[in-house]
């Protein structure tokens, strides 16, 4: 429940908070800051599978791809990121899932 409130609060906040939303807005900011897609922010159109430094933040030690809900990457970029990571894995540039 709480999660849903936070989500919808975020949407309204982006368009300018309306009256009566203040309490919710404050609570939201306490819990989690708003995530912005790293690739949109940096204006990266092509995610290069050869660039390990770009991909590594999205494959922590265990080697799993970080889900969008954690990383805040937008859907379009997550799709591209996914193929880039899988290509890089084939070439042993970044690891497969380990342990």
């Amino acid at each position: 429940m709480a999660d849903e409130h936070r989500r919808s609060g975020g949407g309204r906040g982006a368009r300018g908070a309306r009256g009566g939303e203040k309490a919710q807005g404050a609570r939201r900011s306490l819990f989690r800051r708003r995530k912005v897609c790293k690739f949109c922010a940096d204006k990266i159109d092509y995610i290069d599978y050869k660039d390990a430094r770009m991909l590594l933040p999205f494959v922590p030690d265990r080697g799993k791809i970080v889900p969008r809900r954690i990383s805040g990457v937008c859907a379009a970029h997550q799709r591209k990121l996914q193929t880039a990571i899988k290509r890089a894995r084939q070439l042993a540039i970044i690891p497969y899932v380990t342990e």
Binding site: R7, D45, L91, A92, P95, Y96
Partner: protein, 143 residues
């Protein structure tokens, strides 16, 4: 050769391969490209790099990137040769012309519309609804 497409070919050689073998293979690739009416646009030798995981008993590999303009037939032949060569640990061919063109289009569109004006409109009710859905999924996974 009806279509010219751009490909990126990366291959990883065993660390036991001598300098000579590396240049030999590169020459072989180059010759094949020339013979089949392709064009070698760019070569990058990344040299010796640590592998992210062991391949066989190897912990390092020699990486070479070749950017090739040519046909699918050419790539077929190159891949066949790489598979035959025992020094090649891994190889990967990716067709890049379409992806690069798509990226170029995105860049052009951003330049035309400017960074701000388009965003708030497109971020209206539709993505918000998508967010909510995802929120519920997330809740299930987290809870």
């Amino acid at each position: 050769m009806a279509f010219t497409r751009q490909y990126e070919l990366v291959y990883v050689l065993s660390p036991d391969a001598s300098e000579q073998e590396v240049t030999d293979l590169h020459a072989q690739v180059e010759a094949t490209i020339a013979r089949m009416g392709g064009e070698l646009a760019r070569t990058e030798a990344w040299g010796r790099r640590k592998l992210a995981y062991e391949i066989g008993r190897h912990k390092e590999g020699v990486y070479v990137l070749e950017v090739i303009n040519g046909s699918g037939e050419l790539i077929k032949e190159l891949e066949r040769r790489l598979r035959v060569n025992e020094q090649v640990l891994r190889h990967l061919t990716v067709r890049v012309d379409e992806e690069l063109r798509a990226a170029e289009r995105l860049r052009a569109r951003r330049k035309v519309s400017g960074p701000r004006p388009e965003r708030p409109a497109s971020e209206g009710p539709v993505p918000a609804a998508a967010d909510e859905q995802e929120g519920e999924q997330g809740k299930g996974a987290e809870g």
